[in-house]
Symmetry: C2
Amino acid sequence: MNVSTNSNPRSMNLEDIAARAGVSRSTVSRVINNEPYVSEKTRERVLAIIEQEGFIPNPAARALVTQHTQVIGVVIPRTPTVVFEDAFYFPTLLQGVSAATHQRDYAMLLWLGQAGEDDERLYRQIERNRLMDGLIIASAPSNDPLISHFLNTSLPFVLVERPGHDYDRISYVSIDNLNASLELVTHLINLGRRRIATVTGDLTIPDGRDRLDGYKRALQIAGLPVDERLIVEGNFSQRSGYEGTQALLQQKIDAIVASSDITARGVLQALHEAEIRVPEDVAVVGFDDLPTAAQVIPPLTTVHQPIEERGRLAAGLLIDLVEGKLEGPQQILLPTELVIRQSCGAALS
Amino acid sequence: MNVSTNSNPRSMNLEDIAARAGVSRSTVSRVINNEPYVSEKTRERVLAIIEQEGFIPNPAARALVTQHTQVIGVVIPRTPTVVFEDAFYFPTLLQGVSAATHQRDYAMLLWLGQAGEDDERLYRQIERNRLMDGLIIASAPSNDPLISHFLNTSLPFVLVERPGHDYDRISYVSIDNLNASLELVTHLINLGRRRIATVTGDLTIPDGRDRLDGYKRALQIAGLPVDERLIVEGNFSQRSGYEGTQALLQQKIDAIVASSDITARGVLQALHEAEIRVPEDVAVVGFDDLPTAAQVIPPLTTVHQPIEERGRLAAGLLIDLVEGKLEGPQQILLPTELVIRQSCGAALS
DNA sequence: GTTCAATCTGGGAGCGCTCCCAGATATGAT
DNA sequence: ATCATATCTGGGAGCGCTCCCAGATTGAAC
C-alpha cells in the first residue's frame, strides 16, 4: 500500500557505503576510525563516497558497543541565586567548558536546577542518564547526594569548587582562595589599615571558609590581632554585605573585606548611607572581579579569578579521566590576580 | 588470569532482570515501558527487582532501535556579546528550556558559539551530531547555514526569534515586538511628547526591524510625521545608544526610544553628559526590562518580555513536534507588558 | 621456485534494547 | 463440554555499529 509513500527513508549505514565502494562494512569502519591496515587507494575511495553521501555513523550504535558516547554532563544545581545575583559566573564557566568539549569533539549535556523546586527530581534524572561519559558538578555546597552517588559509581566526575568532604578522593578545579585572600588583606595592611573587618561568605562552603582563613592568616603574619567582633558571617549575597556592614559600624574600623564583589556592593551601599567615605574613612575590597566591579563608585579593588579557564580545565581534566589519559583524583588550584583599583585607597598614599 | 580482577563489571541488562524475576526479556521491557498485557502480579515482581537492583535501561540500545534519544539540543551562536553585554537573557532562556525539557523527561545538549572563533566548526559538529531528536536555535540573525541545513533535514527545530527568511516554513516562539513597540511609543505620545526620536536595533534582525516598525506605526496612528532625521540606526549595544544620542542632539527632541535597555543605558549616559534632564527635557524608554532597568537613574520605563517562558514554550513546542503531537511549522508570539517607571515622565503629569 | 611475515580484507558475533508474531492461558458465551 | 475472544508471555529478528579472527594478497628473503 504505502510503498511509495515511505515518508521517513532509513538513513544510510556502513553497509550501504560499503556496497557503493565495493568493499566490506569492516573496511569502511576502519576508514572512519582512522585505523591502519587499509590501502591508500581503498581509503580514498571510501572517503570520497562518505563525503559525497554526507554519511555520519549512528552514534547510538557506536555507543552501544564502545560504551562511550562522547558526551559529558554539566550540573548546575540551584541556579536561581546564581542567575539573578551574579549572572556572570555561570555563563562564563559554561563558555569555558563548552570550549574544551568542542575542541575535543565532545558534546555537553546541561542540567540546571530549577527555581524553588527541590533538586531531588533533577538528581534522579542525572543519575538515571547513562548517556554521559563523565560529569562536571558546579557549586559544591549541598549537592552531597550527587557526589556520594557518583563516588559509588564508575562514572568520572570533576567539581569546579573545592568539595566540602572527601577532599582526596574527588577531582576538582578551583582557585587558591586562601592565598588570594591573604594577598588581598596583606595589601590593605601594607596601606596602613589596622582595624580590618570582614563580611564572610557562606562558611559551609569551602570557598567561604578558605577566604576567611586567608584573612586571618594575613593578620597573624602581620602580627595583628584577630578580633572576632570584626568578623560578621554572611553568605556571599549583597544583602549580607549591607546588613553585615551596619552591624560592623558599631566597631571602630578602617577597612572591610567583602567575601565577594556582590557582597561588596552591599557594603558600599551601607557605608554610603552612613555617609562614610570610601576609601578615605573605610577601605573596601571585594573578590571575583565581576565586570561591574570596575563600574561601581569607587571602582573596586578585588581578586580576579580565571572563570572561563576554570571551566576549560575542568572539562579537559574530565575528558582525560574519561579517556584514561589521567588516573584517579586530580586536584588543580588556579592562580588568581590582585586587581588594585580605588576602593582600597592605594591612590591616597 | 584476571578473572577476579575484572575492574569494570558489565552492568545489568533486561535479560538479567528477567532471569531474576523468572520471566522473559520481553515482559521486563513491557513493564519498563508501561505497556499493557502484563498481569499485575508479574508487573509488581519485576518492578521490585528493577528497584532493588537499581536497573536503568541502556539508552544507546534503546535509541538504536527506537530512533529517539530523548535529547534536544540548544544552539546559542556568538554568545560573547550576549554574555558580556547582557548576561541575563541567555541564562534565563536556558532556565526556561531546561524546565520544560526536564519536566518531559528529556535531556538538553548545549552548543555555545566561541568568542571570536568562526562558528563554522561548531555548525559542523551540530550537524554531525545525530544524538538529538530536535534543536532549539537561539539568536536568529546570521545563522542561516544552520537553518538552511536543517530545513533540508527531517530534524525538527524551533527558533526563539523570528527568522529573517522562510517565515512560514519555520517554527518559532517570539514576542510581539511590533505591537509592544507601538504601545510603548503611544504611551509617550499620550504623555504629550511630540518630537520622539529612536535609536534602533540591528535592522538585519527581525526584532530590530519590528520594533522600528512599531515606532513608525504609533506615530502614524497619532497623525504625527515620521521624520527620518529622528531615526538613528544602532545595533542594540550600549555604545550605539551613546553615539546615536549624541547625533540626535543636533535635532530638537523631547523623547528617545531605545531599542533595548542596554541601548537605553548609553542614551542616558549621553544625555547626562550633555546635562539634559530625564525625563523633564527628554523622556527615555527602553525595551526588555532587564533587572538593571529598575536600578538606573531614573528608573527606566520599558517593555517586559517573558524570557523564561519563551524558553519553556520553545522546548515544549519542539518536543511536541518531535513526538508528533503537533505538525509542521508552528508560530507563537508571546504578549509583552508595558512597565511604566520614571524615565518616561509619567509621574510628571 | 618456496617460505614467511607483514599488510590488507571480509564476515560472524554480539552490544542491549524494541517490535512482531506465535503460542499459552484465562474468561465468557454457547 | 466447545469454541471464540481477550489477556498474557516468550523468543526470534534486527537496529548499526565495533571487535575479533580467519583468510587472501603482497613483498621480501632465501
